[in-house]
């Protein structure tokens, strides 16, 4: 294998890895504020992309994407208000089951609204055949968009959580909800906001990867599973680690595929998930003293 091939493989791995990382970040935002794992996270990506595809028929691409993101964000808030907020006795089992139900509902709604056909957004720059060359390896410019948008999302979120009042309020809720409430923070709205934020970045991610991976109504669930694997791999709640974990998983999959049969590629993420859960559920990057499982 020459250098060009290695770089080609790495690019492939990093591209899918960054997609997984964005889904994982969406999980982490909600998890941090509420302790809930939102099984419907994957669906937000697809809803955003589907809506953008429909909107591009009437408005130009950037406007379509913007609108789709806004609508999906509102959808995320709705999901929280209608389904999650009512759950008074918040046992883990109930929450898991509800978010699974929500993800099924959203998926079936997409099937009946948009039907089963595969769609995709047009490439942001260039066409389906344009390719750029990096050190002998070729790729579509859309890959740069994916990496770029992921980086922007991560930086934006870091700044948001560290420097804005709302961001800090959400972190306060994550740390200790009762104390946050005592400080006058409206924790219920923080929960809704976390869902909206997750839905929003999910929609952005869905739109940016749509030209690369295409969009079909049932793509949400596999994405969610991989995203969850990455989130746990990095440590639930730790978004920076999620990025690293996403890249690791992406590269690992490509490594497996280049050395062995491509057919086993899917097994890699499941095996990683099981191994991590069995041996180090707190994630690769967790500090030892915080390694005890969150009590549910």
């Amino acid at each position: 294998m020459n250098l060009a091939q290695i770089i080609q493989y790495c690019l492939s791995g990093i591209t899918v890895g960054s997609i997984y990382a964005i889904v994982a970040i969406g999980f982490n935002i909600i998890y941090n504020t509420t302790g809930i794992i939102n099984f419907a996270q994957g669906e937000f990506l697809i809803v955003g992309a589907m809506m953008a595809v429909s909107l591009t028929k009437v408005v130009p691409l950037p406007v379509a994407i913007g609108l789709a993101v806004v609508i999906t964000t509102v959808l995320g808030g709705l999901v929280e208000v209608v389904f999650i907020r009512r759950v008074r006795d918040a046992s883990v089992l109930r929450l898991i089951v509800i978010t699974i139900g929500v993800s099924i509902l959203i998926r079936e709604a997409m099937l009946h609204i948009w039907d089963e056909k595969v769609r995709s957004l047009p490439y942001f720059t260039g066409t389906d055949v344009s390719t750029i060359s990096v050190m002998g390896a070729h790729m579509s410019p859309q890959v740069l968009w994916v990496l770029g948008v992921s980086a922007v999302i991560v930086t934006g979120l870091t700044l948001f959580f560290r420097f804005t009042l709302i961001g800090r309020a959400m972190r306060a809720c994550a740390d200790d909800r009762m104390a946050a409430r005592l400080c006058g923070i409206n924790d219920r709205w923080m929960v809704t906001l976390s869902f909206m934020l997750s839905a929003g970045i999910g929609a952005i991610a869905g739109c940016v990867i749509s030209p690369v991976t295409q969009t079909q109504y049932d793509m949400g669930a596999p994405l969610a599973i991989k995203g969850f694997t990455v989130a746990i791999l990095g440590g639930l709640g730790n978004s920076i680690a999620a990025i690293a974990a996403g890249l690791i998983l992406g590269l690992l999959e490509v490594l497996m595929m280049s050395q062995f049969q491509a057919a086993y590629k899917e097994a890699v993420s499941i095996v990683v998930l099981l191994l991590i859960l069995v041996f180090r559920p707190s994630g690769l990057f967790a500090r030892r003293d915080v390694s005890s499982l969150r009590a549910f």
């Binding site: 794992i37 009512r86 699974i100 139900g101 079936e108 559920p281 549910f296």
Partner: protein, 355 residues
């Protein structure tokens, strides 16, 4: 007091026996086909109810155990060992009576494992896999346990979908009927319809008997205490890990039995039995029936699977289960039968189960 717990069982048995002439009377004897299939799915649900309701462990991958049972039976009873009949292990199996000679549909001679041998292997394998998976996974909590079981289900799906021996995406067909004894067979053909209706229900009632006895025994009380408050139970000397693991293994074996029997009934099995949606269906049925309500789970399992198999839900099949999940969890988390309005009816069944 000991005898009263069996009243619901006897009542159910009577209902089932009465069901057959009633169906004949209303001119719908063929409903027995879907009822039989639903009964086999109900075996999975009963096991899952023990696990989720009594031991308090969620499992999003139970369709995987169903597949272990079904595919093991299918592979062993359809693999043709005729070409290798003189090789060492095959001769020995034959001598032990584990193999059976038969002809397939097209007249070709085949040498395969007997359905009984395959059935026993399926149960043992499910128990073994349940034990090996349960050992590392049971000590996880909440979301982690859910995802681990989901991962298990996915691994099984990938294996059966990818390995040629399991028929890959097409699954395995031409699975022979399962000859039980005294001329009874698990067989999907029309002449055997009534017979199979009773065979399926005998299996289900036997499972219920086992489950009810378990729930009302020391083990059941220990399980309930674990479910209520694991640390308290632990401090009282209850070996929480062992009980949870045993329940996990038992529910795995129940699911495998359901899988094996249904595979013989249908004559085929495919990867569609191991999808995440299937596992979610089992969970939603247990939830609707009431997490710790064996009879509720059974009734709901029969009703929902029956309707689904008859295509009543049309293109909204998956959506129905999603809606059920949400509605039940939001409005009736103790299950449909425990809603205040239905309390009166349900106490007849549920009161006694807490002995």
């Amino acid at each position: 007091m000991g005898g009263r717990r069996y009243i619901p069982l006897i009542a159910a048995a009577l209902l089932i026996v009465a069901g057959q002439p009633v169906l004949w009377a209303i001119g719908r004897p063929y409903y027995m086909t879907q009822i039989t299939m639903s009964a086999y799915y109900a075996l999975v649900v009963i096991g899952l109810c023990l696990l989720m309701g009594y031991a308090g462990q969620v499992s999003l991958g139970h369709a995987g155990f169903f597949a272990v049972g079904g595919y093991t039976s299918a592979v062993l009873t359809t693999c043709n060992l005729l070409a290798r009949q003189n090789e060492f292990p095959i001769r020995w199996f034959r001598w032990l009576g584990l193999l059976v000679e038969r002809q397939d549909l097209y007249g070709q001679a085949m040498l395969c494992f007997s359905p009984w041998a395959a059935f026993v292997v399926a149960m043992l394998l499910a128990g073994l896999i349940g034990f090996s998976i349960g050992l590392p996974v049971i000590r996880l909590k909440g979301h982690y346990l859910a995802m681990a079981t989901l991962g298990f289900g996915l691994i099984i799906y990938r294996i059966v979908q990818g390995a040629p021996v399991f028929g890959q995406a097409d699954g395995i067909s031409n699975v022979p009927p399962f000859e039980l004894f005294a001329g009874l067979e698990v067989n999907g053909r029309p002449p055997y319809r009534v017979q199979n209706y009773y065979i399926a229900w005998v299996a289900v009632l036997a499972a219920m008997l086992l489950a009810i006895n378990l729930v009302q025994s020391r083990v059941g009380r220990a399980l309930r205490s674990i479910h209520q408050n694991e640390e308290a139970a632990h401090s009282l000397g209850v070996n929480t890990f062992q009980y949870k693991l045993s329940t996990f293994v038992l529910s795995a074996v129940f699911a495998a039995v359901g899988g094996a029997l249904l595979t013989h009934y249908n004559g085929s099995i495919g990867p569609s039995e191991v999808t995440v949606m299937k596992s979610v269906r089992y969970v939603s049925i247990v939830a609707v029936g009431g997490m710790a309500n064996l009879w509720g789970a059974l009734v709901m399992g029969i009703v929902l699977n029956f309707l689904s198999l008859r295509g009543v839900f049309g293109t909204y099949d998956d959506a129905v289960f999603g809606v059920i999940l949400i509605v039940i969890m939001l409005f009736a988390p103790q299950g449909l039968l425990r809603m205040p309005t239905l309390r009166g009816i349900s106490t007849l069944f549920s009161r006694r189960s807490y002995g």
